[in-house]
């Protein structure tokens, strides 16, 4: 196997290839509860051509390849379940184009969300992209590969709904482009070409995304994070429905958590509003709090939980240290907004069973078309028992999502199987055909979305 290592060294250079124990150890671990899975090699290519050469090598040697961005899904999706080569994509990080007039941006897939936010802030301060609440090191490619959502999910949907073009290295090594870029017309639209949606949500098991064009949106100068609080979870869907009917807000997130005590059993709806003028902000606040939410305040079932708090971009998450143990993992799901109360109630029961303070969150996607609802379970990395509890709670939650007729988002292999067990047979077989057709040697992130 020394020959594979040597070939990798020839492709990416000695500094960026490793078969040393320490690198393999590092890439064998995820941040969540998944047990380690050891790669045999790690390579960090700089160019699309280098990635392509690695893919050709992997086909020749019949060795698995797993693309890795920030490695931040927590669900073990970039762990090499069948060994092989981890391709750390983070050196593929060029910002290729920002088109202010047509409001889109083209980057290499390994560019981090932090970098994109900082770049726009500095060079195009009137534009923003939909940034996930993940740590800033999360990559654009990794986020698209799992259908992520960001802080513009309410007005504009999933991040993958904002794609204007893709460049992908197929599992057999050829490079394909999708959208207007495929006909050499720039990177401004994914439509109206025939739909070839073969790569998003596949966890990199059908190809490696190398370039992405995605939409940008107006970034307003004044930005407020307000909060509205209710104690009755059953009110949350209707409030969100009214707010989305009004249509004056950006991000809408409902949260509830046992810690701190002031949050316990209460539901905070964080309402992001933005404007270029103070008058615009005043108008929005008036419409939201006086006219839309006023009736809840007057009837004593809701109250303003905070006005004009700062929301940093990139956001900074400290959630991993809740249990002072350096770990947490969450099940994410895509559910109807109406499911919020049930998701909250059943989730807090699971948490209680495992002695983990409950933490739930629901982010509105589109005009209340769906919600990303998550249940987080903290653990202490130094205490195997708490890790086991968290893992069990995660599995129970996956099962619960299915019972609630939800869809698990970025499922770990356990959740993938639950979904495939319920999947319509024709769809399942089509998935298998697509995978077999694209990846005849079965080398691309094997073990993910694997139809038996």
């Amino acid at each position: 196997m020394e020959s594979i290592y040597q070939a990798l060294v020839e492709i990416v250079g000695e500094d960026y290839a490793s078969n040393r124990h320490e690198e393999l150890f590092t890439y064998s671990k995820d941040l969540g509860t998944s047990p380690p899975q050891w790669p045999e090699y790690v390579a960090a290519p700089k160019t699309v051509e280098e990635v392509q050469k690695i893919v050709y090598l992997a086909n020749k040697e019949k060795v698995a390849i797993v693309p890795l961005g920030g490695g931040l899904t927590l669900a073990g999706l970039a762990l090499p379940l069948k060994g092989g080569i981890i391709i750390d994509m983070k050196r593929l990080d060029k910002i290729i184009e920002v088109n202010e007039a047509a409001r889109y941006m083209v980057v290499e897939a390994g560019a981090s969300h932090g970098k994109v936010t900082a770049y726009l802030h500095k060079h195009h301060p009137t534009l923003m992209h939909s940034e996930p609440g993940a740590p800033a090191a999360a990559t654009i490619g990794g986020n698209m590969a799992i259908h992520g959502q960001g802080d513009l999910a309410h007005p504009y949907g999933f991040n993958t709904d904002m794609i204007n073009g893709l460049e992908v290295i197929l599992p057999t090594g050829e490079i394909a482009r999708f959208g207007s870029c495929a006909v050499g017309s720039g990177w401004y639209t994914m439509h109206p070409l025939p739909d070839l949606g073969l790569f998003l949500g596949w966890n990199g098991s059908t190809g490696i995304i190398t370039k992405i064009s995605f939409r940008l949106y107006p970034y307003k100068k004044i930005r407020d994070n307000d909060a509205f609080t209710v104690s009755d979870e059953n009110l949350v869907p209707e409030i969100l429905h009214e707010l989305t009917h009004l249509g004056l807000t950006e991000d809408l997130i409902a949260t509830s958590s046992e810690i701190p005590p002031v949050m316990n059993r209460l539901h905070h709806i964080s309402i992001m509003i933005a404007g270029d003028y103070e008058e615009e902000m005043e108008f929005k606040r008036h419409m939201i709090f006086d006219l839309t939410l006023g009736k809840y305040i007057r009837s004593g079932v809701g109250g303003i939980g905070g006005i004009a708090a700062e929301r940093l971009r990139p956001q900074i998450s400290k959630s991993a240290d809740w249990k002072k143990g350096g770990g947490f993992e969450y099940v994410g799901s895509i559910v109807p907004v109406a499911a919020y109360p049930e998701c909250y109630r059943r989730g807090s029961e699971i948490s209680a069973r495992h002695d983990i303070p409950y933490t739930v969150l629901g982010r509105v996607i589109g005009c209340c078309h769906a919600m990303m609802f998550s249940w987080s379970y903290a653990f202490n990395r130094a205490d195997a028992e708490t890790v086991r509890h968290a893992r069990e709670a995660l599995h129970e939650t996956d099962v619960m999502v299915m019972e609630l007729n939800g869809t698990i988002w970025k499922p770990a292999v356990f959740g993938q199987k639950l979904m495939m067990d319920r999947m319509d047979q024709t769809t399942l077989q089509l998935m298998k055909k697509v995978k077999d057709l694209l990846d005849p040697n079965g080398i691309m992130n094997p073990g993910n979305w694997e139809v038996q």
Partner: protein, 390 residues
């Protein structure tokens, strides 16, 4: 082998989430502000990766190896990660690495170049292994007085005393102080390594030995005020010596210069139309929060245009020379060596002069500018050299 139980941060180290915030600079512009990660771009070289490796080593999940020791010793103690890690224990994340280096030192398992560094300091009082009798060569022809109760002890440090490039800064600092009429003396061949790098390499016993010897000498001579050439010496005198009983008023030379400028005792030279940028030294900036003094001194250069590089102050990229790396050079040998990235950044802002305030940065960046082929455009100068009368 040492285990987790003996490790000072045993209750903290597993709390690193490996979220990677610590790779960024203050303005989030890229994941490349940890110099070791910028150089190698493998997760093992980011601080999250490093802390997870240390934990695995201490719990016996992995064994010591040369690669592991290289990963630890490639950390330059630049403290960028401390600046960006959002968790409550962030103040200790570099200390966690240093404490792990200490465990390696205690078991004798350090990279050969680190061993050489420490042995040289032990035997000759400097990392280069040059004869201690040559420590005063830098001041030949300067007519400096030995310290005997003057207002300041001017402590030069190993780089300033021995490195031919850094000697220029040592001499320039002395001349500016002389010209401004500052009362100071030096220790000449009696000066000995300050121990900052020894500390960052995890050699606690040698640090104690050096600190005790230096404090003893300073005290016997009645030293109260110390002005240092190097921010590294400034840091260890100011922050570590008190624990060994050494309480001195310590200043970096840029602080003294800034004060002399304020009181009119020091005037900047003319440099019409010259574009100057400044590289913050980690041990002055992130370790001690001094960002203004060097900028004030540069501001005294008449007619020059000062321009910041994109990454500056708290967000500056380290030159890659800290924690002994100016000698061990674990981050060298590549276009992605932090010093070379920094040289290119100075080129990006079209600087004529890349000013530094540290003999370590001076040697690292001087070499880097040459390696980048930028030496015909950019001159790397210590601030003391900028201010030094022709």
């Amino acid at each position: 082998m040492m285990g987790l139980e003996e490790y000072k941060y045993k209750d903290l180290i597993h709390r690193c989430f490996r979220c990677g915030y610590c790779k960024f600079p203050t303005d989030w512009s890229d994941v490349t502000n940890c110099p070791a990660y910028a150089r190698f771009r493998m997760e093992s070289y980011s601080n999250g990766g490093r802390l997870w490796l240390i934990y695995a080593w201490l719990t016996g999940e992995i064994q010591w190896s040369e690669n592991l020791s290289k990963i630890l010793y490639s950390c330059t103690s630049c403290k960028n990660c401390v600046e960006k890690c959002p968790l409550s224990f962030n103040d200790d994340i570099v200390n966690m690495v240093v404490a792990a280096k200490s465990q390696m030192v205690e078991t004798g398992k350090v990279p050969p170049l680190v061993r050489k560094f420490l042995q040289n300091v032990q035997v000759q009082g400097n990392p280069y292994g040059i004869d201690a009798n040559k420590r005063a060569d830098w001041m030949n022809g300067l007519e400096l007085q030995p310290y005997q109760g003057q207002d300041y002890l001017y402590y030069v440090g190993c780089e300033g005393a021995y490195d031919t490039r850094a000697q220029g800064a040592a001499r320039a600092t002395a001349r500016v102080l002389q010209d401004a009429g500052v009362s100071f003396g030096v220790l000449g061949v009696d000066e000995c390594c300050d121990g900052n790098e020894v500390d960052m390499l995890g050699e606690e016993a040698l640090l104690e030995d050096l600190a005790t010897k230096n404090i003893d000498q300073f005290s016997k001579r009645g030293v109260k005020n110390i002005v240092t050439l190097s921010p590294h010496a400034y840091n260890v005198f100011k922050n570590k010596y008190p624990a060994f009983g050494g309480h001195f008023n310590v200043l970096h030379y840029t602080q003294v210069f800034a004060d002399l400028i304020k009181t009119g005792k020091l005037k900047g030279p003319e440099q019409q139309g010259v574009r100057i940028t400044f590289h913050d030294p980690c041990f002055l900036g992130r370790w001690n929060g001094e960002y203004n003094a060097p900028r004030k001194v540069i501001g005294a250069v008449k007619g020059a245009n000062f321009t910041e590089m994109e990454r500056n102050k708290k967000g500056a990229l380290c030159c890659g020379g800290g924690a002994g790396n100016f000698f061990t050079d674990f981050l060298g040998g590549s276009g992605e060596s932090p010093a070379r990235i920094r040289a290119r950044e100075a080129g990006d802002v079209k600087a004529d002069i890349l000013a530094v305030a540290c003999p370590n940065c001076l040697t690292m960046l001087d070499d880097a500018v040459k390696a980048e082929g930028l030496d015909n455009r950019i001159k790397v100068m210590d601030i003391s050299e900028l201010l030094c009368p022709a």
